[in-house]
């Protein structure tokens, strides 16, 4: 027990030391977090009136970001599967960094959902036992379970692995392997359940599509590895941590396949909507071409498509994809493209027109944007601090000396 506390103390103390660059980065994040916290405090005081959401468009950027980031959390599985099922050595060395990303992402998800609540003071109504949890009927209750469960699973895997690494012992497979397999299943479930939140609503034809869950997974498995490719390179550089090129290559291949599948599924959806040309095409029409003069999302979605297509082209041409500059560009483009496509591009048009045909557009208020930026900064902060804690353990500079 004492040993474990020392482990905690030592690893936590790591976050207080670092280079100037590290502190500049943390300071920047803190500033954004402070702005976001202030905006959220105002929202707590004045209610969701400070947002631009309405009864017409009752979910906005909070839920859009939430949806995207659930994907980031699920994407860790794209490192876990090759690392453990296919024994990809290069990925196995860095797989825990991916799982830390999942932890940071889940915390962001929970923050975004909380930010969206009209009565955060009644949060306890959702806690099984003391509240009244509408499980299994409500997909949102499923989401609460799978997200928190995923957080716990990954926290356990990471905590236990690093503790073993710190002690220099091999992890006991009984405490480890079952959770790895559980996390694979669970990662798929978090994004599937999140997709079911939308696709289970018969009254919203734009979402009421079986392809939403596969699309979510495909886009997550593109954006997540894309983000990890960038992050691992940064860690390699600033922390002088040996990330093997093979690891990046594996992620790139995964990302390439996922990008293609994502574009294909998007194409399927677009075909179905426009070729059928039923009354329900209105939302898709609003998104892609504008409807009756309402066209706020049109530039966004075409930007997203342009970014996704360009990223896919780069990834598909080996000559380009193997050059790190192009690869990084593709990762950035895919990340932004998917963020638009499945955030604003999926959530907002679901509300436009309303189920009884009204067109009312939405764009976030300054307060909403600040809260979102604050949560993003908090996510980066959490991830940075966690990586800062574990890199010395990886490198062996922080470890228990057991040799007598």
């Amino acid at each position: 027990m004492k040993q474990y506390l020392t482990f905690c103390k030592r690893s936590i103390s790591q976050i207080f030391v670092g280079s100037n660059l590290y502190f500049v980065w943390l300071t920047l994040l803190t500033i954004v977090m402070v702005i976001g916290a202030h905006a959220y405090a105002i929202q707590l005081r004045d209610g969701l009136a400070v947002t631009n959401m309405t009864d017409e468009v009752s979910w906005g950027v909070y839920i859009a970001n939430f949806t995207f980031i659930v994907g980031m959390a699920a994407a860790a599985v794209m490192m876990v599967i090759p690392a453990y099922l296919y024994n990809n050595k290069a990925l196995k060395e860095v797989v825990l960094l991916g799982e830390l990303l999942a932890i940071a992402s889940i915390i962001m998800c929970l923050l975004f959902v909380t930010a969206d609540l009209g009565r955060p003071d009644r949060f306890w109504h959702m806690i099984p036992g003391i509240g009244r949890f509408n499980w299994p009927m409500s997909m949102l209750s499923w989401d609460v379970i799978v997200l928190n469960g995923y957080l716990l699973i990954n926290a356990h895997i990471c905590g236990y692995s690093f503790y073993c690494m710190y002690r220099g012992v091999k992890p006991n497979p009984w405490f480890y392997t079952p959770f790895i397999f559980l996390s694979i299943f669970w990662a798929v479930s978090i994004h599937t359940v999140t997709a079911f939140l939308y696709s289970g609503l018969g009254g919203r034809p734009f979402w009421n599509s079986a392809v939403i869950a596969p699309r979510f997974l495909a886009s997550a498995f593109a954006a997540g590895p894309g983000f990890l490719i960038l992050t691992l390179q940064i860690i390699r550089k600033v922390a002088d941590f040996p990330v093997k090129q093979e690891a990046l290559d594996s992620l790139r291949k995964i990302m390439t396949v996922a990008m293609v599948i994502n574009l294909f599924l998007l194409g399927c959806e677009v075909f179905k909507e426009f070729y059928t040309d039923s009354a329900h095409v209105a939302s898709a029409e609003y998104l892609f071409f504008g409807l009756h003069g309402a066209n706020a999302l049109v530039p966004w979605i075409w930007t997203a498509i342009a970014l996704n297509v360009s990223a896919t082209v780069i990834l598909l041409v080996p000559y380009l994809a193997e050059k790190s500059n192009f690869l990084n560009l593709a990762c950035v483009m895919a990340f932004i493209g998917i963020w638009i496509e499945k955030g604003m591009g999926l959530i907002i048009p679901g509300f436009i027109p309303t189920p009884i045909g009204q067109l009312y557009e939405y764009s976030p208020s300054m307060g909403e944007i600040q809260v979102c930026l604050g949560i993003w900064a908090a996510g980066f902060m959490i991830y940075t601090l966690m990586v800062k804690m574990v890199i010395p353990i990886y490198k062996g500079t922080v470890q228990l000396e057991t040799t007598k």
């Binding site: 030391v17 670092g18 009752s58 509240g131 045909g357 009204q358």
Partner: protein, 314 residues
């Protein structure tokens, strides 16, 4: 032995970085302080939230005595918030053998929006945003494509040539998507078919708003603003008492009226008699006659929501 070693390593480790370490810790403390300072507006959040309210249990778990206390508390709050001292909060219960249903005659409705306004007034809805649980759609004759409807029509007189009008409110679906999706069971269907919301249990996630195919739910972005002289003092706990900020509300067929035998306010306001209401289990009722004898349909039947709100033609 092992621990001694560990302590040594620990000390060595700390001595090297002590200065940086203190610098880092103080930076972290400063950041935390800044975050705390930024959050100060939130201190006002609890201003109008009492502990009793915070801990209040779900409606279905309250005892009669607890309810009485809560109703008194709400009456008091109406007094302080709106300056009205004759508020009377009641909780009429569903009657045995009664299932409510509504029918609306599309051949007769002229689209005057009288029901929309009456609803707002009866139900103590927010006047600042003009909230009403009813919306009236104008449609082209020959079409029932709601996506082509208009709510903003404002001609000199209604009805307009070539148009027909379709008021929409909560359909009190027997297979209600809103009830299904609520993560905390803050909304449910009562024995007489009315879907209600416990305004003290709703967490304001607005999933029900997204789920409703009839645009029948409203969210209170602010605390409702109602002039004292317009407050309707006959209040139902599950229906028209002034709602708190941050929760969802909906049409309850005016249960504070209808469970006491009266017609809903929208029906009373309709100048054309297009609106019909009653107990569908009673074979002698108006509503029963309509179902048996008129050409009746429900909106978005394909969604299998099984509404208790019917439209009919002469």
């Amino acid at each position: 032995m092992c621990e001694d070693k560990e302590n040594k390593v620990d000390k060595a480790f700390e001595s090297v970085t002590r200065r940086d370490f203190i610098k880092g810790v103080s930076g972290a403390l400063a950041s935390t302080a800044a975050l705390g300072a930024a959050m100060t507006p939130a201190l006002d959040m609890g201003k109008d939230l009492s502990w009793d309210e915070f801990y209040q249990q779900h409606y279905q778990e309250l005892t009669v005595e607890q309810k009485e206390k809560i109703f008194k508390r709400i009456e008091q709050k109406v007094k302080t918030d709106y300056g009205v001292d004759n508020a009377n909060v009641q909780d009429p219960l569903p009657q045995l053998g009664v299932e409510f249903a509504y029918a609306l005659n599309l051949s007769k409705c002229i689209g005057c929006r009288g029901c929309e306004k009456a609803c707002s007034k009866e139900n103590n809805s927010d006047r600042a945003s003009g909230m009403s649980n009813i919306r009236v759609l104008e449609l082209d004759k020959g079409s029932i494509n709601l996506e082509k409807s208009s709510q903003s029509y404002n001609p000199e007189t209604v009805p307009q040539e070539g148009k027909y009008y379709m008021p929409i409110q909560c359909h009190q679906c027997q297979n209600a998507p809103c009830v299904k999706v609520c993560p905390v069971q803050a909304t449910w269907q009562e024995k007489d078919g009315i879907v209600v919301v416990d305004y003290n249990w709703c967490i304001g996630c607005r999933y029900c708003e997204a789920a409703c195919p009839y645009y029948a739910r409203r969210f209170n972005f602010t605390t409702p603003e109602i002039p004292a002289e317009e407050i309707n003092p006959d209040m139902g706990y599950l229906s028209n008492r002034p709602r708190p900020k941050g929760v969802v509300e909906k049409c309850t067929f005016c249960l504070h009226r209808t469970r006491n035998g009266k017609y809903p306010a929208c029906l009373e306001a309709c100048p054309t008699g297009s609106r019909k209401f009653g107990n569908i289990l009673d074979p002698e009722s108006e509503i029963n006659y309509i179902i048996k004898n008129k050409r009746v349909f429900v909106l978005k039947e394909e969604l299998n929501t099984q509404p208790r709100f019917y439209y009919f033609f002469d």
